[in-house]
């Protein structure tokens, strides 16, 4: 029982970067733009957040830096795809390559300047970011470790998911954004500023991804800089968007499931289930593929999927 609770807690920890990546990508895709640069934006956010934390010793500044830097890298994507109408897939892929390279480059540069030969976050920010849960509540048996024992990233991520849910479904602006994603021509005719909405959602989506990157650099790697620290999680987030059916609240559950699948291999004794680790590594993708098959078999139109995803909107071509 105790081990089960610890397993769930570990699954939450493993799923958190995925949650950010997924939420960021959902935000972006709602405007009809498929940004495959999640991995790159997360890397940029990882680098900026980590270094800001390293030099300022402030968790809040680290989050801001991660958000800002990743949004800036999303701006590159925005300019290329919204204004210049470059191919979205290609732009996203190059953003990934660029983001990882830039992040490693700056990381190694900073490493070269450090005297100790290692970049380790100072004590102050380490205490803040790990912040082991909500005092008082975390000591409740069972519910305490399951719900109230996490670091700040986890709760911020859930708050963002709820905010996005409310935004998409309950606000006029959110509905406008979805209109842009479904049919930009109609949205434009209705007087919605299509370009403005697209830029806003791409930038905010990128920024959210960046916080997930900061989680990779700061929590997963224990507060010491390692190159390639996002390690492919951004790609899983792209798959998770489909798993979550473009719904922010589903993303919470989805990232928990994917997080659990990522750590299952370390918790299931081989004597109980003699499966190779590669089997577990494959599971998230297998499940996503199955979900794709199932959804494509459904007759009903999927309204969560932005209808104009991946296509450009050029006003004069209408």
């Amino acid at each position: 029982m105790d081990l089960l609770i610890r397993f769930v807690a570990a699954a939450v920890a493993a799923g958190t970067p995925l949650l950010y990546g997924t939420l960021g990508e959902i935000m972006t895709e709602k405007a009809g733009h498929l940004n495959l640069g999640v991995e790159g934006m997360m890397s940029v956010g990882a680098c900026a957040g980590f270094l800001a934390g390293y030099y300022t010793d402030s968790f809040a500044l680290a989050l801001l830096a991660a958000f800002g830097a990743a949004a800036a890298s999303a701006l590159i994507y925005g300019v290329l795809t919204v204004t210049l109408m470059a191919n979205q897939n290609v732009t996203g892929l190059t953003l990934t390559i660029f983001g990882i390279g830039l992040s490693n480059f700056i990381g190694i540069l900073a490493l070269g300047r450090s005297e100790s030969g290692t970049l380790k976050l100072p004590e102050g920010i380490t205490a803040q970011m790990r912040g082991a849960g909500i005092p008082g509540l975390r000591d409740i048996p069972v519910a305490g470790p399951l719900l109230f024992s996490y670091n700040a990233f986890v709760y911020i991520g859930i708050v963002i998911a709820v905010l996005l849910f409310l935004y998409f479904g309950r606000t006029k602006s959110g509905l406008n954004l979805q209109a842009v994603g479904h049919n930009p021509g109609a949205a434009d005719a209705a007087g919605i500023q299509v370009t403005r909405y697209k830029y806003a959602s791409i930038l905010i989506g990128g920024g959210i991804c960046g916080i997930g990157g900061a989680y990779c650099a700061m929590i997963i790697n224990g507060g010491v800089w390692v190159s390639n620290n996002v390690g492919g999680l951004g790609w899983i987030a792209v798959a998770l968007v489909i798993f979550a059916n473009w719904k922010p609240l589903n993303a919470i559950g989805g990232s928990l499931v994917f997080g659990a699948l990522r750590i299952l291999k370390f918790y299931v004794p081989k004597s109980v289930l003699p499966l190779p680790n590669a089997f577990y590594d494959m599971m998230p993708f297998l499940i996503t593929a199955l979900i794709l098959v199932v959804t494509s078999m459904r007759k009903k139109q999927n309204l969560s999927l932005p209808g104009n995803l991946g296509n450009h909107y050029f006003r004069e071509e209408r």
């Binding site: 570990a10 495959l36 100790s116 290692t118 790697n221 390690g231 370390f266 209808g307 995803l309």
Partner: protein, 414 residues
């Protein structure tokens, strides 16, 4: 739309696959090595020179006495050394970093100037064209000695050694050599792991010790190291048990952290590791327990957790090799040194090690150094109850490098 979407998803999957694949290929190298090593060792009997340079495999030099050099001496000022790295030494820790520290140490020991060393970093060791280009570039810059530090560079080195008989190629890990201008080098890291096991065995309070392994039982290098660590633990604390978690990758920051956390969740209070990042040590530090690092001294990353680290000092080999090239005593033989030569060791013990750790370790170290005993000597039982080494026997080097596919008896079978 759905078509486009599934296309994109498929693309994402393919990409993530290649992304992971590339990384692994990079270092899987050492994984594949074992079969090769065994085969070579059995075929030629030259892979691993038994402990101590005097006993080096009889058949390579029939002349007896002092071995004659097989290559003409290269004067110090004419030396130009090319180093092929799989990643970037600037990472500050890990495999490539320790190799490069060895090159730097050799350079200092011998007083070579900076322009006598040519480095090629981030050379993908699964890409033959890239390796050949890197080495050719070194040769064009006038290199007459090439050190290739990763497994996958082996075949290219072999081919180029034929093509350029005047250039000396030395390849880290691996098993191929031609006995003239192409050899390989590696070390008895298991000796250091045994010593680090003593520190872990004395420190543990829960009698549960975790070990994050890069590769599973089929990899003799990793498994042998894990066994040596477990035997070190057993020598001072027979009640302690070792739990192993395998990441299946030589470099997987996320997986290494998660594996360590899973071990901590089981109640382990010392975490040993055979993987590249300091993440297992950092996980132990965050949990307020201890660990044993690998490759370089990880106390700089996790000062509150690392009891010690199992470290390589490659400068020992690089200095020895380059010196022999300068003296004209280069024999082209393979190199497999250990504690005695200083190629492997443990980092200085942390002051929070259990009392008596230092004495126990130096005792064991003495025995290994004197040559009266080695780690894989005497009765060895596996965790499946099999006896793999009888009282009075010692495993031979071919078995140590390629044939350890069992876990020692205090490693939990699960």
């Amino acid at each position: 739309m759905k078509k486009a979407l599934s296309l994109v998803l498929a693309l994402a999957m393919v990409l993530s696959l290649t992304a992971c694949g590339g990384k692994e290929d990079g270092k899987t190298t050492t994984a594949a090595q074992n079969e090769g090593t065994t085969a070579a060792a059995q075929d030629e009997g030259t892979t691993a020179a038994p402990q101590g340079e005097t006993a080096a495999g009889g058949e390579t030099e029939a002349a007896g006495g002092a071995k004659a050099g097989v290559m003409p001496a290269i004067a110090k000022e004419d030396l130009k050394i090319g180093v092929i790295h799989i990643t970037d030494p600037a990472e500050g820790s890990g495999y490539t970093y320790t190799h490069d520290q060895g090159i730097v140490g050799m350079q200092e020991n011998l007083g070579l100037s900076d322009d006598q060393i040519v480095r090629k970093n981030n050379v993908d060791d699964s890409n033959a064209t890239e390796i050949e280009t890197a080495i050719q570039e070194c040769l064009e810059e006038g290199c007459n000695v090439i050190f290739a530090t990763s497994w996958g560079f082996m075949d290219t080195c072999e081919a180029l050694a034929d093509e350029y008989p005047e250039v000396i190629f030395s390849h880290g890990t691996g098993y191929k050599s031609n006995g003239v201008n192409f050899n390989n080098y590696f070390g008895r890291i298991y000796q250091a792991r045994y010593l680090s096991g003593i520190a872990a065995g004395l420190k543990t309070e829960s009698n549960k010790i975790g070990y994050v392994a890069a590769m599973g039982k089929d990899n003799s290098e990793v498994t042998g190291g894990c066994d040596a660590f477990a035997m070190g633990v057993y020598s001072v604390n027979p009640d302690a048990q070792i739990y192993v978690r395998v990441t299946n990758s030589w470099f997987d920051p996320e997986g290494e952290t998660q594996a360590a956390n899973a071990l901590l969740d089981l109640g382990c209070d010392v975490i040993g590791q055979h993987c590249d990042t300091p993440n297992p040590q950092l996980a132990a530090e965050a949990a307020g327990v201890w660990g044993v690092g690998y490759n370089s001294d990880m106390s700089k990353d996790a000062p509150k957790a690392a009891l010690t680290s199992v470290v390589w000092d490659w400068s020992v080999y690089y200095t020895y090799a380059v010196e022999s090239i300068m003296n004209g005593t280069w024999t082209g033989e393979n190199y497999f040194a250990g504690l005695k030569e200083g190629l492997v060791d443990i980092a200085p013990l942390a002051d929070f090690c259990a009392e008596g750790t230092e004495e126990k370790i130096s005792e064991a170290k003495e025995k290994i150094l004197s040559g009266e005993w080695d780690v894989f000597s005497g009765l060895i039982e596996t965790n499946e109850g099999e006896v793999v080494c009888e009282e009075g026997q010692t495993l031979d080097d071919a078995t140590i490098t390629g044939g350890i596919n069992w876990y020692f008896k205090n490693i939990v079978a699960e």
